[in-house]
């Protein structure tokens, strides 16, 4: 008895498993260190030790928006607070590839950045604190948030 076996094999199609297109991680805190009461203290974003830093990883050609959410004060002992502020010149993004230049942007706005020379970039943050003459001594703290949104 003849037996027919049909094997229907439809088109196999695959879709690429897309890993996260971009990732970001905190690399270093913004650390003003010792601050004397009554003395405004500034950390430049170029400071290799004290400046805050995030690392962004993506694909060459990928375009992202960088947005920072920054504190206006640091919180200290017994409810004390100390003003902290950030202005243009306090933050830049720079690819880690050799020869890449820093691109400074307004920390209060959103910056568009494209990976052109490599797959990694850093965002560096400086700023200044303005302790009062009678600022309470002790440790002060707050946090800074970076949000990276993929544009294309």
């Amino acid at each position: 008895m003849p037996t027919t076996i049909r094997i229907l094999t439809p088109l196999l199609f695959t879709a690429h498993l897309a890993a996260a297109q971009v990732s970001v991680a905190g690399a270093r805190n913004l650390a003003f260190g010792v601050v004397a009461a009554g003395v405004t203290t500034t950390v430049l974003p170029t400071d290799p030790i004290k400046s805050g830093q995030w690392t962004i990883t993506g694909q060459i050609g990928r375009q992202v928006q960088i947005k920072l959410t920054l504190p206006t004060r640091l919180n200290g002992p017994s409810g004390a607070t100390m003003p902290v502020n950030f202005t243009t010149g306090d933050v830049f993004v720079q690819e880690t590839a050799t020869g890449s230049l820093p691109n400074y942007f307004n920390p209060g706005g959103a910056n568009v950045f494209r990976f052109t020379n490599g797959t990694q970039a850093i965002v560096r943050l400086g700023g200044r604190v303005t302790p009062a003459v009678n600022q309470r001594s002790g440790a002060y703290l707050n946090s800074a948030l970076i949000t990276i949104t993929v544009l294309n």
């Binding site: 439809p10 970001v24 905190g26 010792v34 440790a139 949000t147």
Partner: protein, 171 residues
């Protein structure tokens, strides 16, 4: 009689719908500072050579009553740097008709007690120090000495100069 048996095998392979990663990523860092009380510096005692005689050197040591002294208040346990600015780069002070009285062999030390003697930590006057510490208290004392070397024909009269001490917290 022919019988046909059909066996149909449908093979579907549908691999991997696009798993889109999140279009936005966020990360936090901390912003930190450690506030110390303000520093105050007071010139408490002049470095006073008193009467000196032409051709005769006179030394005031840091432990002498005539030594210069600065009193500093600041944060308990903090470390500070000390840097002097000496008159005419420490070479002389001026007197009548711009006469110069040569100075040399500057000496300095810091202490948490008000004495330039026992327990006073010496440091090079010209280069300062970054290791003076308040310890358990809030006061530091800095002492200064030197040698006046009047020439044999030194013009008689009063000679004076100014020494500035700059103090800063060390991170």
């Amino acid at each position: 009689m022919a019988r046909f048996a059909k066996l149909s095998v449908f093979t579907f392979a549908m691999l991997g719908a696009a798993a889109t990663g999140a279009s936005a990523q966020s990360a936090n860092i901390n912003v930190t500072a450690n506030v110390y009380q303000a520093l105050t510096v007071n010139g408490a005692n002049n470095l006073a050579f008193g009467n000196v005689f032409p051709g005769v050197n006179k030394t005031v040591a840091v432990g002498d009553a005539a030594a210069g002294r600065f009193d500093i208040t600041g944060q308990t346990g903090a470390t500070v740097s000390l840097n002097f600015t000496l008159p005419n780069s420490g070479n002389y002070i001026l007197g009548p008709s711009s006469a110069q009285l040569p100075l040399n062999s500057w000496s300095s030390c810091w202490n948490t007690s008000n004495t330039g003697g026992s327990g006073c930590t010496s440091f090079t006057t010209a280069s300062g120090t970054s290791a003076a510490a308040f310890g358990a208290g809030t006061t530091l004392f800095v002492f200064l000495g030197a040698t006046a070397a009047p020439a044999a024909g030194q013009t008689a009269g009063s000679y004076t100069g100014q020494v500035t001490l700059t103090v800063a917290y060390v991170n």
